[in-house]
C-alpha cells in the first residue's frame, strides 16, 4: 500500500499544527461557531447528539495492521472502546472530546493517517472496490490513480469551499463494487482498443434527498487527463452550482438543470484550457505511485488444499462461513475473507478495541499485514492461503468476527442514525437489530440467499437505502419516528433505485414488514432467483399488496 514520503508526512504534520491552532482560537472565543464550522468539518469533526463525532479517513478503504492498532489504541484512550466503520470506508469515533481532537490527529499523523476532508463542502475520501488488486474480474487496479487523486484533492485550493460535499469513487472491475453511479464523479477504468488505460466518467450521481444515478459525461478519457478533466467538472460546479439552498446544491442538481449536453459543453470549454497543463499525470508519476501497489509476494500454491477440503466436509459451521465470507482470488490457493461486523445485537459496522487488535493480528499472520474496509461496513483480509482459513476462522469466531452472513439479509448496511447523529430523523440501529432477531435462523437465512438490506436514519442516505434490495428510510412525522420502505434498489453495474412501496411503518412493525416481503419472494421465486431478480420480474405490486393487506382490512373495519 502507499507509504508516505517526507512530503506527505510534512502535509499531515502541518495540518495537525494548523488544526490545533484553529481549535485553540475557537475555544478562546476568537473564532465564532459559524467560522469554526467549516474548519472542523474539513477535519471530520461533527457536533453530535452526545459528543462530537470524529471521522477518520481511510483512503480507498486500505489499512495497514499497524494503522489499525493505532486506531484501536485511540478508541480505547479517547473514546469508549469501539469505533464505527462507515459506508464510505472511513472510521467514526462517537465519543471524543473536542479538546482532545488535535491530539488524536497528532496520533494519527504518526501512522500516516489523518481526518482531512472527511466532511465539509469539499472533495471527500475517494472510495473503491474492497477487492481492488485481487479480484478475478478486475481489469485495472484503480488504487494508484486513487492515491494520485487523493493527493491532488488534499487541500485543493480552488475546491476548498464548494457549494456542497463532493464524492468520487473509482472502479476497475467488470462488476462494479464501488457504486460509481451513485457518486458526484464515478470513474470506471478499462482498456481501450489499443490496450491503453482509459476511463469512463460518470457525473451527477448521488443518493441523499434527491437520489439520482449518474450520467456518462465522457465515454473514454485517457488516464493522463483525469485530474485536469475533474478540475474542469468541479470548476463548472463551483462557479454555477446552487449556493442558496443546501438541498439543491449537489452537482446532480446542476447537471439536471443544465441537461447533460449543456453541462458537458461547459466542461469541455473549461477543459480546453486545462488539458495538457501541469496537472496532467506523467508515466513516471503513475509508475512511482503504482510501485506501492505491486503484486504481493505470493507463494506458488496448488489450487486445492486437502486440509481445507476436509474441514469443509466435516464441519458444517465452517462450511457455512466459507460459503458466505470467503471470496475468489486471482492467485491459485489464495482467498479473500470478509470479517463480518454484523453479528446480531451490535450496531452494524461497529468494532471494539479488542476486535481491531485481533484483526490487526490476523492481518499480520495471514494477509501480508494489510486489510480493507468495505462500503458494506465489514473488514476484509484480501490475501489468505486456503490452508490458513480454518485457523483464521477459529480465531475470528472466538471474537465475534465470523458471523456467516455476508451478502445475506442480516448483513445490514446501516448508518449510526438517531442514537448518535444529530441529522437523523429516526433511529436506525434498533431497527437493524430487530430485523436481525427476526431472521436469526441461519438455515432460513441461507435459504433466502443474497439480499442487501440498507437502512438510513434520514434522507441524507448514509445507509444507502435507495440502492438496497430492501431499503428502509427513517422519517419524522409529527415528531415521531416512522420508516418508509423501498424495494428493487441495487448497487453494481446494473444499478437501480428502489421504489417506495407505500405509507411508512412504525418501528415495531418493521420486522414483520420485512418478513412479509420475504414471504412473497419465497412464494414467487423461481429456481436460482435472488430477491432482487424476483422484484425486477414481478414488480412491486404483489409485495405491496401483501404487506398492506392487514392495514387495508383494519381501515375498512374502522369505517364499518
Amino acid at each position: 500500500m502507499y507509504k508516505y514520503d517526507e512530503i506527505d508526512q510534512a502535509i499531515v504534520n502541518e495540518r495537525v499544527a494548523q488544526y490545533r491552532d484553529q481549535t485553540r482560537r475557537y475555544l478562546a472565543g476568537e473564532l465564532s461557531d459559524e467560522e469554526f464550522r467549516p474548519l472542523r468539518l474539513q477535519n471530520g469533526l461533527y457536533i453530535q447528539r452526545h459528543a462530537p463525532m470524529l471521522r477518520i479517513a481511510i483512503p480507498y478503504g486500505t489499512l495497514a495492521s499497524y494503522q489499525l492498532r493505532k486506531l484501536a489504541e485511540i478508541t480505547r484512550r479517547y473514546d469508549r472502546g469501539y469505533g464505527h466503520f462507515s459506508t464510505r470506508q472511513n472510521l467514526q469515533l462517537n465519543w471524543p472530546r473536542l479538546e482532545d481532537t488535535p491530539d488524536i490527529l497528532a496520533e494519527l499523523a504518526t501512522v500516516q493517517m489523518h481526518a482531512i476532508q472527511t466532511s465539509g463542502n469539499c472533495i471527500r475520501n475517494i472510495t473503491t472496490d474492497q477487492f481492488a488488486g485481487i479480484a478475478p474480474d478486475e481489469i485495472i487496479d484503480p488504487r494508484a490513480v486513487a492515491e494520485i487523486m487523493r493527493q491532488w484533492s488534499t487541500f485543493h485550493p480552488e475546491f476548498a469551499l464548494l457549494p456542497r460535499k463532493f464524492k468520487i469513487a473509482v472502479s476497475g472491475s467488470q462488476q462494479d463494487r464501488a457504486l460509481v453511479q451513485a457518486h458526484d464523479i464515478g470513474l470506471e477504468f478499462f482498456y481501450d482498443a489499443d490496450h491503453k488505460m482509459a476511463i469512463k466518467v460518470w457525473v451527477g450521481g448521488g443518493l441523499g434527498r434527491t437520489p439520482i444515478l449518474g450520467t456518462v459525461i465522457n465515454e473514454q478519457l485517457e488516464w493522463q487527463h483525469v485530474l485536469t478533466y475533474c478540475e474542469a467538472i468541479i470548476r463548472v460546479y463551483n462557479l454555477h452550482g446552487r449556493r442558496d439552498n443546501s438541498y439543491k446544491a449537489r452537482i446532480k442538481i446542476l447537471v439536471k438543470a443544465l441537461g447533460i449536453d449543456e453541462f458537458r459543453r461547459q466542461v469541455d470549454a473549461e477543459w480546453a484550457n486545462l488539458k495538457d497543463g501541469p496537472n496532467t499525470i506523467t508515466e513516471a508519476e503513475l509508475e512511482r505511485v503504482a510501485h506501492h501497489f505491486t503484486r504481493m509476494p505470493y507463494d506458488t500454491l496448488p489450487a486445492h488444499d486437502a486440509s481445507f477440503d476436509a474441514a469443509i466436509a466435516s464441519n458444517p459451521a465452517f462450511a457455512a462461513w466459507v460459503k458466505r465470507c470467503v471470496h475468489a482470488h486471482r492467485e491459485p490457493g489464495y482467498r479473500a475473507v470478509t470479517l463480518s461486523l454484523k453479528p446480531y445485537g451490535v450496531a452494524p459496522g461497529d468494532a471494539t478495541t479488542e476486535q481491531m487488535q485481533v484483526v490487526a493480528d490476523l492481518a499480520d499472520r495471514y494477509s501480508f499485514n494489510e486489510l480493507r474496509v468495505s462500503h458494506e461496513q465489514n473488514l476484509i483480509l484480501t490475501d489468505v492461503r486456503l490452508s490458513d482459513l480454518y485457523a483464521l476462522w477459529e480465531t475470528a469466531r472466538a471474537h465475534g468476527l465470523a458471523t456467516p452472513n455476508i451478502g445475506l439479509l442480516t448483513d445490514i448496511i446501516c448508518c449510526p442514525g438517531g442514537d448518535f447523529c444529530s441529522l437523523a430523523n429516526a433511529k436506525s440501529i434498533p431497527i437493524a437489530e430487530a430485523i436481525q432477531r427476526q431472521f436469526d435462523n441461519l438455515d432460513y437465512l441461507h435459504d433466502i440467499g443474497d439480499l442487501e438490506l440498507n437502512i438510513s436514519g434520514c434522507m441524507n442516505a448514509c445507509g444507502h437505502h435507495h440502492i438496497g434490495h430492501i431499503g428502509i428510510l427513517g422519517v419524522d412525522k409529527d415528531g415521531s419516528e416512522w420508516y418508509q420502505v423501498t424495494i428493487g434498489g441495487k448497487q453494481g453495474s446494473d444499478a437501480s433505485l428502489g421504489t417506495v412501496i407505500g405509507p411508512a411503518f412504525s418501528a415495531d412493525e418493521m420486522p414483520g414488514v420485512v418478513q412479509r416481503l420475504i414471504d412473497v419472494y419465497i412464494a414467487q421465486r423461481s429456481d436460482e432467483e435472488r430477491f432482487i431478480d424476483t422484484v425486477r420480474r414481478i414488480g412491486v405490486a404483489p409485495f405491496k399488496e401483501y404487506v398492506y393487506a392487514d392495514k387495508a382490512g383494519k381501515k375498512e373495519a374502522a369505517h364499518v
Partner: protein, 210 residues
C-alpha cells in the same frame, strides 16, 4: 483614512496602508433583499439582480485618488473613466456571482488595471477561488488581485494559491494574526496558480522503499 484604525490590508506578505478607495453602488429607495429559504440569494441563475441604471448613474466616484469601482459602473461609464485609468488610478471590483468574462469581454488586456478586487460576502463562498484562478490563468492578469469582504485568516492560504496577493482582512479581525495563515503549508500537493506544477514535478519524490 484615520491613523487610529489598525491597518487591515495584507499585500506582498506584509501589512500595508490601503491607498485605494472603494466605491460602492448607492442604495436607492428601499433596499430589496432577495431571500430564498431565509438566505440571501447569491446564485446568479436564480436571478441575482444586476445594478440598476439609476444606481450606476448615481454612483459617486471621488474626483481624485485611487478608486476601485464596481464592474457594472466600469462597463457603463467606461468613457468618463478613461482618464483615471490612464493615470493608474482605476481599479475594478466584482462580486462572486458576477462572471469574469463580463470584465474580459471588451477589455482584451486586463493588465490595464493596476488592481482587480473580488468581493466575498460570506467566507464560505468558494467561487472567489475559481474567479482568482480564471483571472490569473485564463486572462493572464498580473497586477494586484485583492480579496475583500468576509476575508479571514483560515482561507488566506487557499486565496494565495488561487492567485490573490492582496487581502483586506475583515475589520474586526487582526491582520497581524492573519498573516500567519499564508504559511499554513510548506509544500502543497497540486499545481495551482502560485505554484503551477504539482509536487511531483517540483520535487524529486521517493519511490516505494518497503
Amino acid at each position: 483614512m484615520s491613523n487610529a484604525t489598525p491597518k487591515q490590508l495584507i499585500h506582498g506578505n506584509q501589512i500595508v496602508a490601503d491607498q485605494w478607495t472603494l466605491v460602492k453602488l448607492p442604495v436607492l429607495g428601499e433596499e430589496v433583499v432577495r431571500k430564498q429559504a431565509g438566505k440571501v440569494v447569491l446564485f446568479k441563475l436564480t436571478g441575482e439582480p444586476g445594478a440598476s441604471a439609476e444606481q450606476i448613474a448615481a454612483t459617486e466616484i471621488p474626483a481624485s485618488g485611487k478608486v476601485i469601482v464596481p464592474l457594472s459602473v466600469w462597463l457603463a461609464r467606461k468613457a468618463e473613466l478613461q482618464e483615471r485609468l490612464a493615470k493608474g488610478e482605476l481599479g475594478v471590483w466584482l462580486a462572486t456571482h458576477e462572471v469574469v468574462e463580463a470584465l474580459a469581454a471588451d477589455q482584451a488586456d486586463l493588465n490595464v488595471f493596476p488592481l482587480i478586487a473580488v468581493f466575498v460576502e460570506r467566507f464560505a463562498d468558494g467561487r472567489i477561488f475559481s474567479i482568482g484562478n480564471l483571472l490569473r490563468t485564463r486572462h493572464a492578469y498580473k497586477n494586484e488581485l485583492r480579496a475583500f469582504g468576509d476575508v479571514l485568516r483560515d482561507q488566506l492560504f487557499f486565496l494565495k494559491r488561487c492567485g490573490y496577493d492582496s487581502y483586506l482582512i475583515r475589520a474586526d479581525r487582526s491582520a497581524e494574526d492573519a498573516l500567519a495563515g499564508l504559511q499554513d503549508f510548506s509544500e502543497p500537493y497540486q499545481g495551482a496558480v502560485d505554484l503551477a506544477e504539482p509536487v511531483w514535478r517540483r520535487r524529486q519524490r521517493n519511490g516505494a522503499t518497503a
